[in-house]
Subunit: 288 residues, 2 copies
């Protein structure tokens, strides 16, 4: 792989586009390949075995593009699959969204020894305790308020906006008990949630710092590439963004521009059956 | 196949359990095999190609059980995949949920030549126009109010109850414009929705007849088996219910009893990879 190789951004569907957008802002000259597993989304209600097998297939399918870095731009997939896939694909550079988010949350808590850090995320992310570990590794005595918020992804994917009373009521139900418990920092532990960041910040009030894991993740990727000498540098041409989806539904096109903030080319459709035929890395090694 | 063969009930996840429950009530002595494609749910936001390929795999996987009838207990899968799969698997008896629901809706409209029939369903079901065709075939001049209601499935799967203000607000947003347009009948065009039937009936008022496609579908299956001489008859033993799921998540167990009204045995886990290896029927025919 070389500085001209693409960065791979993987997600269950659309949410990871907030990471692609943050990456594009941080590193405008990089080529990005975005993969949304739209036929099998969401991941947030599913098990580690299932999610790991899905992400393994996607990495297997895209590795011929020789990526210089792979970002698992989905909190659920990071929580359930990142450790296993890092050791399976040990020749690839892979990172996720949880560690950068946890790091930023602890930094935002300042010098407090017992900060109260809230995390909203999918059921699977909360159950996997990935944020608990990532935060406690950095601040042993942080107190955590962990809240699964499964309705937020469907609300965002339905295209509802911040002024919709349903959005406000649902957020109030989820957030009010956390605010009452004097949370210092709130982590948006799902890459969909930055779409509602403005409203969430207004609802929790300006004293609570809201951490956007998509932004943090993009900064982390920029740091990794810089220190590996793999940045593309200041070429004149802007980087390209190509997308792949497993379901060719009209939803991707209609929602992608909302997540990205700019129009996206029609994605290439890869049926789930095409992913299945990719051999697992152990089989590759055996064949060599 | 024989009267002792099982009935197959297929769904994207849990919703089809309302059909299994109605079948169990209508035909208590029948054995039921229930398949919930929990690794790839929901189907309601996905395309016809994707949903058809998923259901094809499931039928292929379960056909060795020699079912006497297959019910596609999911409105989206019925709308997007039933016609194609009926012709592919022409040696199997397959029915869906839409035709029985449409028939009951037209019957409930009475003698009105221009009844106003409302349908709430997933985005994919509405887009596929399957209810339009099934209703207009029976009552040419029926007026339709079609409303995608994508938030209802996640609301139900989160375990929210009828007294939750979010449930009431979301239903009000979806239903109030339909009620204002003097709807005569409302079809619950998704097998999840019967869970909220009581509340929906109260919200639309007693003048509007609410049609539960799960119940109608079960009656339709009973009729089909009776006329084919394939009913099991009045044995003493109650029928068995066995379940299969593609994702082994704790959600199925915790929600299944709410949908069924009784406890269910732990389902057998079938990873999506096991489904993929089933050859398409054309390949089977070629091999013979």
């Amino acid at each position: 792989m070389a500085p001209t190789s693409p960065i791979l951004v993987l997600d269950s569907g659309l949410g990871g586009l907030t990471v692609a957008k943050a990456l594009r802002n941080a590193l405008p000259h990089e080529d990005i390949l975005y993969f949304g597993d739209t036929a099998r989304l969401p991941y947030g209600s599913k098990s580690a075995v299932t999610v790991t097998s899905f992400v393994r297939q996607i990495i297997g399918y895209l590795r011929p593009h020789n990526p210089k870095h792979i970002v698992i731009a989905c909190n659920t997939a990071t929580a359930l699959a990142l450790p296993a896939l890092r050791s399976e694909f040990h020749d690839l550079s892979i990172s996720g969204v949880i560690d950068p988010g946890a790091k930023a949350a602890v930094a935002a808590a300042g010098a407090k020894e017992h900060p109260i850090i809230g995390v909203i995320a999918t059921e699977a992310t909360i159950r996997a305790k990935a944020y608990d570990r990532a935060i406690h590794r950095r601040r042993h005595h942080a107190r955590l308020l962990l809240r699964p918020t499964p309705l937020l992804v469907p609300i965002i994917e339905e295209g509802r906006r911040s002024d919709d009373p349903v959005v406000r009521l649902v957020l109030k139900q989820y957030l009010a008990p956390m605010v009452q418990r004097h949370m210092d920092v709130l982590v948006l532990g799902c890459t969909h949630y930055p779409i509602l960041k403005g409203l969430i910040q207004r609802m929790v009030g300006s004293k609570i710092k809201v951490i956007d894991s998509a932004e943090q993740c993009a900064e982390d990727v920029a740091r990794r590439l810089r220190s590996a000498g793999l940045l593309r540098g200041d070429t004149i041409a802007p980087g390209k963004l190509r997308s792949f989806v497993t379901d060719d539904s009209p939803r991707f096109q209609s929602l992608a521009s909302r997540f990205l903030g700019f129009e996206v080319e029609k994605p290439k459709w890869v049926a789930p059956d095409e992913l299945i035929s990719v051999p697992a890395p152990t089989e590759i090694r055996r064949a060599v």
